[in-house]
Assembly symmetry: C2
Homo-oligomer: 394 residues x 2
């Protein structure tokens, strides 16, 4: 078995620094270690193996008799998930499925967020650290600590289409003294082109007191060997998101989570947050634009009994909606050239600039309280005009 | 390249008859033909291949410059999707992902339906018949025909858990003179145990006139070589589903599809139908029971502007809800032994019978019309008590 060490990605400008594994991975490699990555395995299919279904890999039963299918032992490759540990990061090949795309046949943002969650959890278990379903390490379990995501940012240049084969890389790094950063890169398996980048920050919370916790030394020792400093998204200072109030331009009230919106954690899942946020955005924008960036700042878990309000405010008023420009804004823009860059003048002109500049919205989901409302998530979304031509052919 | 012919599944009591391929599959095999099935490939990972990302399999650009990632040429194996043609059927290995499970960590019915759709479409393109995104064959395209599903039935014995590796088989057969049946088996990859079975019937519709069509001879010639007679679910006569009216016990009105509920076809997707149906069922039942069977009879497509009503009626009144039995029913049952089988008397008694017998609900989704309502889907769901012990340890 060859060790996976010291290689770099040829296709990615955001290199994952693939240092040697700090620990010996040879001892616990799963026997089923064949994996097909990057289209370079070309051995013929072994037909005779197909009749051996019943003999292969018996279902693991843990002591209490329950089926246990998330391995807890470190593993370098996982052929079923088409994933492998590269250096201290994790790479998984996925295909966009028919039900993961929307009416335009490109992957929905929801599907992309789901894949980020999936690869993160797979990274944790492949690294041998997973002690429960939510990514907690053994040391965290011992200290009654759980992970809480505090911030998430996703930038999407191209939405993968139905049937497209993707490679998703994910890795972790330190965030301040007590936090962790997790980053992702999604790229075309065929061309290496980067489609999307994402970063998130995580802190630890005591499961019982629900208070944030420092990172215990024991946990730091578990995690630190996996930390690298590379960042999928370079940010000097994280963008601040203002808190909206009831003056917000768009509001959806009285939103109630349903049973099918709850995740393993009994909390409302991320996808539902996203739907609540995006449903406030005017239909014309959703039709002519696609989301190119989203930042989520998590404030409080949303439980199944919360009644939620979704607020949304355009960063500046929507000036161009389907090509119609509000006259006031246009005049202001032309008069006040501080707003315009030389590109506006030299390029397609003011109209073209207005049509193609990204639109931004600020969002807030809040739970209605008896005395006051409680913030669940603040968000910011950026939207750009949909491509009408192939991004590769220009 | 070995041909895939004449083998049978050792693990499945519902054998797919794997006759030889009627057509020559050798000519169009994709070069990337390595696949790992059933845990029996154990070749070491080729690390050196990992740096070749950019060189592998260039993105296919079709004439109009769009990326095209659903192959149209026949293929025997698809390593990315972990799928292959076996005889005239298709088998795909999938892992239940973290976001595909509900609060109880088992796959949701929605996820299962999604996987059925995915494997069906993959089967069609692997067989070389796919001409568009919805499973239409080349002959169908030529004749302006599309597939319309008229009925779907799913029986679920065990819900796969998070991380479980599944094998999904799907194949097609004739249904009457002009229809097609598509069946599925879902089983544990580790033990071969069957978790779920499904069957569906499809008819052809003229895309322009929206009228049902006979199967043209040209299309029959395309499809017939792929037909086998095996059935995943044996039924003498399909169960009839009565049409509910506004007297139904449970009703949810004023349901509106959202943008995110639309599929590639611009119609409300199956998952949304399901949610609308299941949300009418009382919470106590959803907590104590799990769905073991569902039949859907499709009547009309639901468009984005429809306003929908979801009706639901228990087959007989819910007699046992969380262990509390309605006294009248209990008395009636004991007095009228025609209702009871000898098992009731010999086994755990009346109480046990009542607690463990499946519950059934009839459903109707209808679109509100100006003059009259239009049926979208009729449904029937069957529910059994949740397992508290491992199904394998008894």
């Amino acid at each position: 078995m060859a060790a996976v060490t010291n290689f770099t990605y040829s296709a990615s400008p955001f290199l994952v620094r693939c240092c040697s594994m700090k620990e010996n991975h040879h001892e616990q490699l799963n026997g089923n270690s064949s994996i097909r990555m990057n289209g370079s395995f070309r051995s013929p299919i072994k037909v005779e193996s197909l009749s051996q279904t019943a003999e292969a890999a018996p279902t693991t039963l843990v002591e209490n008799g329950q089926r246990q299918n998330i391995p807890t032992k470190k593993q370098l490759v996982d052929s079923h998930r088409q994933g492998l540990i590269v250096g201290v990061g994790y790479r998984q090949t996925v295909v966009i499925r028919s039900y993961e795309v929307g009416p335009d046949k490109t992957a929905t943002l929801e599907s992309i967020l789901n894949l980020l969650q999936e690869t993160a959890l797979n990274h944790v278990w492949m690294s041998g650290l997973l002690s429960d379903g939510f990514g907690a390490t053994h040391g965290m379990m011992k200290n009654d600590l759980i992970w809480v995501v505090s911030r998430m940012q996703v930038l999407i240049d191209y939405y993968p289409i139905w049937g497209e084969v993707l490679e998703i890389d994910t890795w972790v790094g330190a965030s301040g003294k007590n936090g962790m950063r997790r980053d992702w890169l999604i790229r075309s398996q065929a061309t290496g082109q980067i489609f999307a980048r994402a970063t998130s920050t995580w802190v630890m919370m005591n499961r019982k007191t629900r208070r944030l916790s420092k990172m215990p030394e024991e946990v730091r020792e578990e995690l630190a060997p996996w930390f690298i400093s590379n960042q999928a998204i370079k940010e000097d200072a994280p963008e601040k998101i203002v808190k909206l109030n009831k003056e917000a331009k768009y509001t959806n009230s009285n939103l109630k989570p349903k049973r099918s919106d709850l995740d393993m954690n009994q909390h409302v899942n991320n996808v539902k947050y996203l739907r609540w946020m995006l449903e406030t955005i005017p239909d014309q924008i959703l039709e002519s634009h696609q989301l190119s960036g989203i930042i989520l700042e998590y404030r409080k878990e949303c439980g199944s009994s919360d009644i939620v309000e979704s607020l949304c405010e355009p960063e500046e008023d929507e000036i161009v909606v389907n090509g119609i420009i509000e006259p006031d804004y246009c005049t202001n823009l032309i008069n006040g050239l501080s707003l315009a860059s030389s590109d506006i003048i030299n390029g397609g002109g003011v109209l073209s600039y207005l049509e193609h500049r990204p639109m931004k919205y600020t969002h807030l989901l809040q739970a209605k309280g008896e005395k006051q409302n409680e913030e669940i998530v603040r968000g910011k979304t950026t939207w750009k005009r949909k491509f009408t031509t192939c991004p590769f052919s220009t």
